[in-house]
Amino acid sequence: MKPYIELSYGQVAMAAGLVLINGAISVLLRLDLERRLLIAAVCTVVQLLLIGLVLEWVFRVDRWYVVLGMMTIMTVVAGVAATQRTRFRYPGMRSRSLLATWGSSWVVAAIALGAIVRVRPWYTPQYAIPLLGMILGNTLNGVSLGLDRLGGELAARRDRVEGLLALGASRWEAASGPVREAVKTGLIPTINAMMVVGIVSLPGMMTGQLLAGTSPVEAVKYQVVIMFLVASGTALGTVSVVLLSYRRLFNDDHQFLDALLDR
């Protein structure tokens, strides 16, 4: 017998029916959200079913190239998504976001799979995909926040940055304030999460393991590992993207190419 209760599609449909509560609230309070609610509900079901099918296939095939392909798609989606909601953009921002996300998450995932969890073979999808996914999800946030803050700081302090350059500051002396702020902004959510984890929030992965019948102490061990993987991945990703952007926006002649920053 499995250590957890398997759900039938009927049970899932019952849960989905709970969306009627949201619908009723929307109708009663005239929130005008019914349409969006319906779309969101359909998205939830369809996207998750699809990824379920894809993962079933990946797990069944169990080949390194299939897993690697899956990991690549996840990484590209995350790298691009990180640039979607920043207030400022510059030419080449997307490729830098992709590079930073890719490099940082894969380095950390490699350490996790090869040295920490010691998965054999390394591409075992049961480990490789969820581990990378969790690292990516958080790295994406750090990269996005870092980019947004760097653009905002540089745009707001444009005159000061230039004033410093005019007085003989090197590009680093002129930009280090905004760069530091941007990195800090990218790191704060992870630090906050680390401080309250287990008290305010029970992380999704740990909850999942508990549901799947893992003993709490085992689940906690995994969660601790994940927290540190996520923290280091986010830090690496944020620092990389901020420094790559800095190099793009300040050239070797110590000039601030502020015209590249576009709202």
Binding site: A166, L167, G168, L257
Partner: protein
Amino acid sequence: MKRSDPFPRGPWHTRCNPGKHRYSTTHYVDLDVLKLASPTFRILPDGPVANPVTQANPRGDRAMANGHAIEAVRIGRRDPRPGADGWLIRGVDLMVNPGDRLGVLGPSGSGKSVLLRAVARLDPIDEGSIQWQGREVRGDGVPAYRRQVIYLHQRPALMEGTVEENLQYPFTLRVHHDRTFDPARVEAMLQRLGREAGFFTKNARDLSGGESQIVGLVRALQLDPFVLLLDEPTASLDPGATAAVEGLLGDWLADRPDERALVWVSHDADQARRMTDRRVFLRAGGVVSEENV
């Protein structure tokens, strides 16, 4: 990383060419040449434009032999905004020598600030070259160059903190590490510009536009640059303060005419007459005429 200072302190001629004092003659040679320049106005056509000075005085070894302090030759800067097309300035020459009081005049949008910023190497140029004492200014030489050639923004950006902290700040930069803040000297300058002793402790946030200009000017002057590139330095000042600034800058130049030079962007023709002896007129991004007094 170790970085040698390519611009050691000391009178220019002793560094450029020991034993020769050439600048007095250089200056007058240039003036003769400039008299040939056509004073007619010309809108910048497409393509590189020959500058009147360059036409009358084709650049060759002569300019190098004379060793202009700043030699900006046929510089052009495109509109850098993504998708934008066209030139902000093009084909502009600017020579600055010790003792120069050079005016840059022209209507709004004619490229005066663009020119000054390019000469300060604050913005990249797409055409031409800028040399300092016969050497191209690039890479890690740029901060060292900006120590000698300071561009003063029309609305200087001040840091958070007091006036004194703002004046001290440049000394934290690596390029000024060999020097220390001299409160007495700065106070004397501020006094001359009509600021009371309490001005030092004022918060930069509470300064008026004119007061900010004064802080910006003193902040630059205390660094002993060789060339000051002034972008309407008295735009926010009342007539009394304007006169004080003109007097201070005049004395600053007269103090070491063999080393120092002023380039002054102004809207005010009277001020240009008072403060400069050589003037460049810009229109639509090109030099249209020059004059000497």
